[in-house]
Structure formats: structure tokens, C-alpha cells
């Protein structure tokens, strides 16, 4: 579900820097829509990153993470050409998984 994440993973001096831009409305449940009615809360609750089968990063979000969440983190042990896999789950139970090769 949802649109693909934009993921860039770059290996430099032994550290792989992963930049992620997730496409998600991240509704707080406090905003009023055009019709004046409250737009229900709808937000990503968890995001994980794996390299091969190894968990390399984990995030838990509340409603205060900005619309289209942006993250940068770095891990050791990545090789160029190998894939980093990111997966999120939101408060409606929707999930999405995307991957990028390390360059």
C-alpha cells in the first residue's frame, strides 16, 4: 500500500549512510479537513531496516513525525551492490516494503 519510499544508501569509509523519504500523510487526528470535520489520525507507527537478515535500524513514531517522514542513519558492514530493505507499518495496519542497493 502507499507510494514507494525513496531510499538512498551510500557506502563511505566503512559506514553505509541510509537516507529515506517515506510517502505518508501522517495525520495527527487534530487537523480539520476542507469540510470542517476532523481528519482521523493515520500515521506510521513502526519502521524497520534490514541488511540481509540483520536488523540494522528500528523506529517507532507518534503523530509528531512530519508528513512524508525523512530519516538518515548509518550502519557498519554494508557492501556495495547489496540491498537494504525498509518496511513500515501504520496505525491502520497497512504495510509497505521497499529496497535499495548500496552504492
Amino acid at each position: 500500500m502507499g507510494n514507494p519510499m525513496k531510499i538512498r544508501a551510500i557506502l563511505k569509509n566503512g559506514l553505509t549512510e541510509v537516507r529515506v523519504l517515506v510517502s505518508h500523510a501522517m495525520e495527527t487526528g487534530l487537523r480539520k479537513g476542507d469540510d470542517g470535520a476532523i481528519v482521523p489520525a493515520w500515521f506510521i507507527t513502526e519502521l524497520t531496516a534490514h541488511y540481509h537478515d540483520r536488523l540494522i535500524f528500528q523506529a517507532e513514531f507518534g503523530t509528531a513525525v512530519s508528513k512524508d517522514p525523512y530519516l538518515v542513519f548509518r550502519f557498519r558492514g554494508g557492501d556495495t551492490g547489496e540491498k537494504v530493505v525498509l518496511r513500515w507499518r501504520d496505525s491502520r495496519g497497512d504495510t509497505r516494503s521497499d529496497e535499495a542497493a548500496i552504492s
Partner: protein, 156 residues
């Protein structure tokens, strides 16, 4: 002590044995760690958020936490924040915004081999003190910033 016992009882009631073990830190599988901490994210003040995160005493201020955020944020819907911990055995970084409707904004967990550092963008409802809470094997530490917000971002 009494409130701690109540918390445990509540945890055991609502989550069953797995939840109880997880809350005691005895069951540290990835599955348990991956459970979204509902109580912490729904907390509406700093004390209850900290307690739901397992912080039992006031975390010590640390200069070994690099916390970069603007002093003034024009747009509360997109406030860039970067936190990096230089404290050994850092396992997690949580960001708490005192004057947001819910205090805990995000929590990041760093497995062995991942740098305890995060860049992200958060929403701020109004001018507030913001805390970067670092969880380590040696307890919790904190670095705090006051961020002035020009236009609030929670209705965004």
C-alpha cells in the same frame, strides 16, 4: 514502588505473560522490541511519557549527546532535528516535545553495528522545550533545547 507494581500488574493484565516478561526486560526478542509502545506515545506530559519508556529516575544531563535543532523554527510542521550520542553502549534515542499534545515524538533503536545517530523532521505545536533522551546499558541521559515556533505544525 507501589506505582511500579501497579504498572507491572497492568502490563501483565493487558499483554499477558509475554508483555510482562518484555516489560521486565527478560524477553528481549526482536518481536517484543518491535511492539509499538502505545502507552508512551499516548502520554500527554513528560513524566508519564518517561515512565512509560521505563525511565524511573531523572535522567542525567549529558554533554556527550550532540543535539542539533534550530533555535527558531518558522514552520512547526517541519522542524529538522539531529541527535548523535557519544555515550558508550547507546541503544536508543527518543525525542520528547513537552508542549505537543502528545509528548513522545519518536523513538529510534540502534542494534550493534549501527551508529547511535538520527536525522529527522518533527512537528511542533508551539514553542517548547525538547528533550533527546538516550538509553544506554548504563541508564538514561538527556540533552535539551528550547525551540521557538513561529507557526504551529500540529494542525498541519
Amino acid at each position: 514502588m507501589d506505582s511500579q507494581r501497579r504498572t507491572l500488574l497492568k502490563a501483565s493484565g493487558s499483554l499477558g505473560l509475554m508483555g510482562l516478561l518484555a516489560s521486565l526486560g527478560l524477553f528481549a526478542s526482536e518481536q517484543a522490541k518491535a511492539e509499538w509502545n502505545k502507552a508512551a506515545f499516548e502520554a500527554q506530559n513528560l513524566d508519564s511519557a518517561l515512565s512509560a519508556l521505563g525511565v524511573t529516575s531523572r535522567p542525567a544531563d549529558s554533554r556527550d549527546i550532540q543535539f542539533n535543532a534550530p533555535e527558531v523554527a518558522e514552520n512547526g510542521a517541519l522542524v529538522p532535528m539531529a541527535v548523535m550520542s557519544h555515550i558508550p553502549q547507546t541503544r536508543s534515542i527518543a525525542i520528547l516535545i513537552e508542549k505537543n499534545p502528545t509528548t513522545l515524538a519518536a523513538k529510534f533503536t540502534f542494534p550493534e553495528g549501527t551508529e547511535p545517530s538520527i536525522n529527522t523532521r518533527l512537528k511542533m505545536d508551539q514553542t517548547s522545550r525538547v528533550h533527546a533522551l538516550v538509553g544506554t546499558d548504563g541508564g538514561f541521559f538527556v540533552a535539551s533545547r528550547d525551540i521557538t515556533v513561529i507557526v504551529g505544525g500540529c494542525g498541519a
